[in-house]
Every structure is written in C-alpha cells, then in structure tokens.
C-alpha cells in the first residue's frame, strides 16, 4: 500500500488509492468527451473538404450543385475553380478589401495600442470605452449604424464603404493585440539602447519594433481573417459589390455550387497553415 501511495502519479496522487481503482474507468470519460467534441467542431470542415471532391451533374443549362450523396471522386472543381465569374469577382473583392482593410487597421491599431500600453493621457478612458464598444457591439448593430450613416450622407454603398467599414471594425482588435504584446515587453531594453546613445526614434525602430513584431503580425492576420469572414457588416455596407460570403449566401438559395466547397477547402488550408507558421514563429521570438 505504502509503495503504491509514494509512486509519483501526477496531480491525483492525493486521492486515496482504493478510491482511484474503483473509479478508474472514469479517467477516460473526459478525454473521450474532449475528443468527440473536437470531432464535432471539425465535422462540417471534414464534410466540406470531402464533398469538394464529389462528382455532380448540373441540370440542363444550370450550374452544378453539390449532391448530398457520394457519387464518385473527382478533382474537377479544383480545375474549374474560376468557372463562375461572379464568384471569382466576389472572392477578388474579399481578398482586396481584406488586404487593404488589414493594412489600414494594423497601422492605425498598432499606434493606438502603443499609446494605450505606454502612456496615461487624457481621453484614455474614453478610448478604452470606444474600443470595448466596437468589439462587443452585435454585428447587426454595427451594420445598421454604418448603413444609416451612409444613407444619411447620401453616399452610394460599394467598394469604398466596405473598405472604411472593415477597417473600422478591425482597428480595436489590432489595438488590443498590440497592446497586450507591448505591455509584456521589457522596457529596460529600450532604455538601455538610449543609454548607449541611440536616439528615441532609433531605439524604437531597432529595439522596440522588432520585439513588437509578433503582436503586429498577429493583429494583421486577425484583421485579415475578420474581414474575410465578415458577412453581416458587408451585407449592410456593400451595395451592389458582392463579397465572397455574401455571394455564397445569396447564391445558395438553390443549392451550393461545388466550386464554393473547393474554394472553402483552399482558404481553410491556407489559413490553418499561416496560423501554424505564425504561432511557431512567435514562439521562437519570445
């Protein structure tokens, strides 16, 4: 008994041994559940990837739709990715807006995040409050507010209103990400650079900026992902310019074109790979 009790057993060693043997099978309950849960979360992704390789036949004169039964393996949809000109245009809009909005939001959000992390200034509380509100306001409220604004101004909605709106909702996320990174930095490094004769700007560019970079990159990727994924705010601010999610939503009233699943698979693999690379890179830097 005593030999059993003194053996290292991890966290549960405090429990009396007879208790453990009686309940041993329950040890597998929680890990099994977690496994099943992750399977459930990934299930739609598996289906999307799988059925992007399924054959389907379109009716007369209609474009093909994904079939719910397995007909046969094909890579046809990957070869015909750009067959639907509207879908291609929507994807191009999403990528362009995503890139531009992420660049703008990263620039603005990084500066704001730095200001919040490093200084106490008048209006800081107000800035905090606006950041909090813009993150937590329901998307449909943001969409309706932006659309009201554009309607009141008489501005026609399209590419530029999409860019302005997407940048707006990403700024706060970048600011929060960069601020977290800046708050964790050792400021004595910058002070050391200045003690060694570097001017404040040089010290910032040579010391602080490289240290902040993982936070800035994470903010950029987050902003890009938020923009690519956004549906609600796009629907309210896009006018006739369709984005990838809004096109897909409108087009699928009559069934899902298999190209959509193929594109989703490519976007998924790209995003997951980028995130993994970013995670590994930031781990190495810290």
């Amino acid at each position: 008994m005593s030999a059993v009790a003194t053996e290292p057993r991890g966290r549960t060693e405090a429990a009396p041994p007879e208790h453990r043997t009686r309940k041993r099978w329950t040890r597998f309950l929680l890990p099994t559940y977690v496994f099943a849960f992750i399977l459930y979360l990934s299930f739609p992704i598996l289906i999307i990837v799988l059925f992007s390789f399924n054959q389907t036949r379109g009716g007369f004169g209609t474009s093909p739709r994904v079939k719910t039964t397995w007909i046969g393996f094909t890579t046809e949809w990957y070869g015909r990715l750009f067959d639907l000109p509207d879908l291609t245009a929507a994807l191009r809009h999403s990528l362009t807006i995503g890139l531009l909005a992420a660049l703008a939001a990263t620039t603005l959000g990084t500066l704001l995040g730095l200001a919040l992390a490093r200084y106490r200034f008048r209006g800081r509380g107000g800035a905090d409050f606006v950041i909090f509100l813009s993150i937590s306001a329901p998307e449909i409220v943001l969409g309706a507010a932006l659309a009201s604004f554009f309607v009141a101004l008489g501005v026609s909605r399209g590419f530029s209103t999409l860019f302005l709106s997407h940048t707006m909702f990403s700024i706060a996320f970048v600011a929060v990400t960069v601020r977290a990174r800046a708050a964790g930095l050792d400021r004595s490094l910058e002070a050391a650079a200045m003690d060694l004769g570097a001017r404040p700007m040089t010290a910032f560019v040579k010391v602080t900026l490289p240290l902040l970079f993982p936070g800035i990159l994470a903010g950029f990727l987050l902003a890009f992902a938020l923009s690519m994924d956004d549906f609600v705010i796009s629907q309210f601010t896009q006018g006739p310019t369709q984005m990838f999610p809004t096109w897909v939503f409108a087009a699928t009233k009559v069934g899902i074109p298999p190209h959509v699943f193929a594109f989703a698979t490519i976007i998924f693999l790209t995003g997951a790979t980028l995130a993994m690379v970013q995670a590994l890179a930031s781990r190495r830097r810290t």
Partner: protein, 307 residues
Amino acid sequence: MERSVQSDLPGLAPPDLPGLAPPERRPRRSRAPYGLAAPALVWLLVLFVIPMIAMASLSLQEGNSLEGFRQTFRFANFSDAISQNGEFLIRSFRNAAIVTGIALLLAYPVAYWIAFYAGRFKNVFLFLLLLPFFISFVIRTLAWSFILSDNGIIFGSLKSIGLLPENYRVLGTTVAVVAGITYNLLPFTILPLYVSLEQIDHRLVEAAKDLYASKTKAFLKVVLPLSMPGVFAAVLLTSIPAIGDYINASVLGGPGTAMIGNVIQSEFLRDRNYPEATALALVLMAIMLVGAIVYARVLGTERITEG
C-alpha cells in the same frame, strides 16, 4: 506623467535613470500619446461613434422610403417597433438562452480538461478548437444545412435503414436554428472559460483534497467559484451574438423560426423601413450595454479590454 510610464519596473530601474535621460525627451513624450492614438480614434469617431448617432437619429424619424424621412423625434417608434415584433424578440431571447445554456454545458468540461490535464499540449488543443474559424461561418452554416438536409448524410441514411420515419425533418425547425447558433458560438464560450480555468492555482485544488474534500467537492467548492468570471464572460460572449444572429435562422430555419436579426435585416435592406429597423438595432445595443455594465460592476472594466 513620467513616473507612471516607468512604474512597471520599480525595483529594476536605477534611481538615477530619469537623470540620465536627455531633458528634451520630456515635452515630446507628453504629446506622443495623442499623436499615436489620434488617427485610429478619428477613424473610430467618424465610422463608429457618428454612425451610432446617425442611427439614433434615424430611429426617431417618420416617413417612408419613397417620400423620404423627416426628423420628428418620435420616440413612439421604439414602443411600436417592440410591440409589433414581440414574437421575434421573445423567440430571439428564448433561443439565445437555450444556446447559452447548452453551450456552457458542452464547453465547460472541454475547457476544464484542457486547462487542467492537457499539459504541454494545451496550445495544440486550443488550435484544434479554433479550426472552424478558418472557414467562413456562412459556409460552415451552409455545411450544416447540407448535413442536416432531409435526405442528407445523417437523416437520409437513418431513413433508408428505417430508423426514422420518411417525413422526419430537422432542417427548417427551431432545433436546427438553435443547433446552428450553438455550433457557431461554441469557440466564444470555450475561450473565456479556458482563460479563467487556466489561471486557477492547482495547489488550491490539492489543498482542498489534503483537507479531505472529495474530488467532486473540491471541484464544486474551489474550481467552480474561481471560474465564475469566465462563466460570466462566456455567457456575455455567447448570448449577445446569439440574440442578434440572423444567418442561422435564414439558412437553417424555416417558416416561423425568424429571429429579431432577420426582422432588422429585411426591414432595413429590403423594405427600407429605416426607423423601425434602427429602433430594433438600438434595443439590441441597449441589451448588450446592460450586460456589459453588469459585467463591469461585478468584475471591473480592465478585464474586458486588457483580458
């Protein structure tokens, strides 16, 4: 001012460091935060604060899309909007409550296991939980409509082997809508739970067991109370998007499952009944603010933006 900037390393800074700094840096520093924050704050002012005011103004106007709207400060727009859409508001609250409850029950054990037992694989598990985010949520919802369709891969097969009657359906019902919203919001439920569970000092649990608490009792008396901030954040982050959601109801729902978001969307974009749509949107905003204020009162605002 100067002191507060360096106060994050009080013990490390040599006492004469402020003296070493060149004096011309001081006036520059005091203006720096405004220069840094201004571009972003102007953007947020013009495209967030002013639009909110524009929406509030629109919600008090009278008129129609053909003849235009006039500002009459008609506060009755709000009571009209609420009384005309009671059915949708109630359905939204009910769905959001069910979604939040189910999501908490499903998510808590997962967050608990990862925080306490995943060891050095924590980040791997978090990554797996966030995988769905790499596919647009519209497409994920479409995938569920595809999976749940009447003759789809689940119900089609169950029907063909006779386990379900031919007319059995889930797609188009409230069950599908609630399931869809729950699926889409689960990562938002798990993350705050995980963050608060991860911060719990494991020695507290061991101390409880040393004091002869059973595993269950240690959980109920130590872990659960300490994770309450996370539970509260999870409730907020799940229920607020759930109330305003309209994608799940339009992709997975059918007749009689429309939520308040569907009303706002169609009143604004299809019928151009701006006053009613904006009044309803402001009602949602007010609900979110009440939740946030309660949260801030209980736990403090710092946690929200710096968490």
